[in-house]
């Protein structure tokens, strides 16, 4: 592990890690942001507990607005609040916001250039049994293509808290993506977090695994197992999908000559695509893409779905081996 990442102790032993949903980190971060600045407001569409906005609503009822099941209006109202100097957080399931209200985000937030913060919950397949309608696997792509939009996908509850606080004060339209399910907290209080700065979690010379979100934990486990087979993987936390930390990713590609991107999202348009765009321009290397392969999810337990959809530890290991073989092909 990279000592500068200051990750949690015993992080490879999942049983010793605290299990907390990333959305809970968001809930805490939002309260913290509200403590610091009274311009911070929260809006929600009839999902206050799911989004963990109830924490903020209880503490600051005057700065919380219940919108009802009206995601389009939520974004418009937030834009109006931002025009009056507020820092509004709009929250719902990611399938609805930024899914259903995409055009309002494009016009009222991005074209108007206002610091509205969008919290998308239950992203990825982590909402498990609810099935494909509620499993957002397209939200990163939707937000990444919007000019001016910042896109952040935190890897655990602690990073979610830091990301939420940082996003509150970046003065830009910002999308934050969170999951429903409890996932390991493998960073620590003093793990650095800065929007736009990727963090090398583990060093290695053979392949760079670049991921975002909770699947980074699977990436670390895969890297550790591969190490026993003599394959050394670098693991990079690219929590900010936009703007991408191009410097860190180009250097990793130069050093390792092969990349595996990892995200709980469609392989089209997400972090993997962002990395491929960057490397194609700067330092092309073979890349394998872990994520949903142009398919929707389905009902099941989150872990089960991650495995079935090719995003588990074994899938990451296979992708690493495959990309190494492609690299060898190029070397010949």
């Amino acid at each position: 592990m990279n000592p500068e990442a200051k990750l949690a102790e015993n992080l490879l032993d999942k049983s010793k890690l605290e299990m907390v949903p990333t959305r809970m980190g968001f809930g805490k971060g939002l309260v913290e942001a509200g403590d610091k600045d009274k311009r911070v407001m929260a809006l929600c569409c009839d999902l206050t507990e799911s989004t963990q906005v109830h924490l903020f609503a209880q503490k600051y009822p005057d700065r919380y607005i219940e919108i009802g099941i009206a995601e389009q209006n939520m974004v418009c109202v937030a834009a109006g609040l931002a025009l009056q100097g507020k820092i509004p957080f709009v929250t719902s399931y990611a399938t609805f916001g930024p899914g259903r209200n995409n055009e309002q985000i494009r016009t009222a937030v991005c074209i108007s250039n206002l610091p509205v913060k969008i919290g998308g919950m239950h992203a990825g397949v982590s909402v498990g049994p609810d099935g494909m309608t509620h499993q957002a696997l397209e939200d990163i792509a939707l937000m990444r293509v919007l000019p001016r939009m910042i896109v952040i996908v935190p890897c655990d509850a602690l990073e979610s808290q830091k990301a939420t606080l940082a996003a509150a004060f970046n003065n830009q339209p910002t999308y934050l993506r969170f999951g429903r399910e409890k996932t390991p907290v493998f960073t620590a209080a003093d793990t650095p977090f800065e929007i736009g700065k990727a963090l090398i979690l583990r060093d290695g010379k053979d392949v760079a695994i670049v991921g975002c979100g909770t699947l980074l934990y699977n990436s670390l486990l895969a890297a550790e197992e591969l190490s026993k087979e003599g394959i050394e993987c670098m693991v990079i936390n690219s929590h900010t999908v936009k703007p991408l930390d191009e410097k860190v990713i180009i250097e990793a590609a130069q050093k390792t000559g092969a990349v595996v991107s990892v995200e709980e999202h469609q392989v089209a348009g997400g972090l993997g695509s962002a990395i491929a765009e960057c490397l194609a321009k700067n330092h092309p290397v073979p890349q394998e893409f872990i994520g949903a392969q142009d398919r929707f999810g389905e009902s099941g337990q989150p872990d089960e779905l991650i495995e079935a959809m090719g995003m588990g530890v074994n899938s990451i290991k296979e992708a690493v081996k495959k990309v190494i073989s492609r690299k060898a092909g190029i070397d010949k």
């Binding site: 009206a70 389009q72 834009a79 109006g80 609040l81 025009l83 009056q84 309002q104 016009t107 009222a108």
Partner: protein, 287 residues
């Protein structure tokens, strides 16, 4: 007889509205594209706003205490641009840059380019929600300004509008006044054929709004309605302004085909002559 505007002022505003209509025709013909019917139909209301109703300062468009005018139906922006230019926000000459590359007068309003626009708009259905957010924040911060939001009637097909209508009703946003440009036309035809809106007044009343209906070309009635709205404490107010699309030029009045097209140069010349002579009422045209 209005308590809020005297007869001389009304006459003055009617003349101003005529000048603004001429500017609309001039800018649209220079642009070679754009919407004609809506801006012409709303010329009286925008004149009333910029020359009588709004508390604003053209030399200080970001003045925090200004009333907010949100143009949800962004496609009628030529009328706003023309009214703003005549009110002194920018030179009237600049109107000819409408829709041209590099212009501050974009085809649909972009707020960062031209101070005083408040929002970027065009995609229909969103302006009322933004106006709600501004009104809500204003109340939180004890700001005294009022928030006005104009909408097209065809725009009311959009579900987003009704989400905002519910919101304003719930939160009793009495500092918010909505204005519906009830001209009964939209791109594909008559509103009642495309997607019936009536009974419209009752709809808003059912959503806990105070509703007023006015003749949108009667400046006195419109001014009075905006004043009445200030006295309604428990509800937001919706003014259904009955207008004639293309008002001022008989050939295009009430013709939905003029929703989204601009006049050709020879048509514009004729239209301008009609406006200058008030449809033949003034015999000798003097330019």
């Amino acid at each position: 007889m209005s308590e809020y505007i005297h007869d001389e002022k009304i006459k003055e505003l009617e003349e101003k509205a005529n000048q603004i209509r001429q500017s609309i025709i001039e800018m649209l013909v220079a642009a070679g594209s754009g919407h004609t019917a809506g801006p012409m139909g709303m010329a009286d209301i925008f004149t009333a706003f910029y020359f009588h109703i709004l508390n604003h300062d053209p030399k200080n468009p970001e003045w925090p205490e200004r009333d907010r005018l949100i143009l949800s139906n962004g496609h009628i922006c030529p009328v706003r641009y023309a009214a703003m230019a005549h009110a002194g926000y920018f030179p009237i000459e600049e109107l000819k840059t409408l829709r041209k590359f590099g212009s501050r007068l974009q085809g649909h309003p972009e707020r960062e380019r031209l101070p005083g626009l408040e929002t970027s708009s065009g995609p229909l259905g969103s302006g009322l929600g933004e106006a709600c957010g501004i009104a809500y924040a204003a109340r939180m911060d004890s700001n005294k300004f009022r928030v006005y939001c104009t909408m097209g009637d065809g725009e009311l097909d959009s579900g987003n509008i009704w989400e905002s209508v519910m919101f304003a009703g719930k939160y009793k946003l009495n500092n918010l006044t909505g204005i519906i440009d009830r001209n009964n036309i939209q791109i594909d035809g008559m509103t009642e054929n495309v997607m019936p809106l009536e009974p419209l007044k009752e709809k808003f009343e059912a959503f806990n709004w105070h509703v007023l209906e006015v003749d949108g070309h009667n400046i006195e009635q419109f001014v009075d309605a905006c004043e009445e709205a200030k006295a309604i404490y428990e509800k937001p107010t919706m003014i259904i302004a009955h207008t004639i699309a293309g008002k001022g030029i008989p050939e295009i009045e009430f013709d939905y085909k003029w929703h989204g097209k601009s006049p050709k140069p020879e048509e514009a010349q004729k239209f301008l002559a009609e406006l200058r002579t008030l449809g033949g009422k003034i015999q000798s045209e003097h330019q």
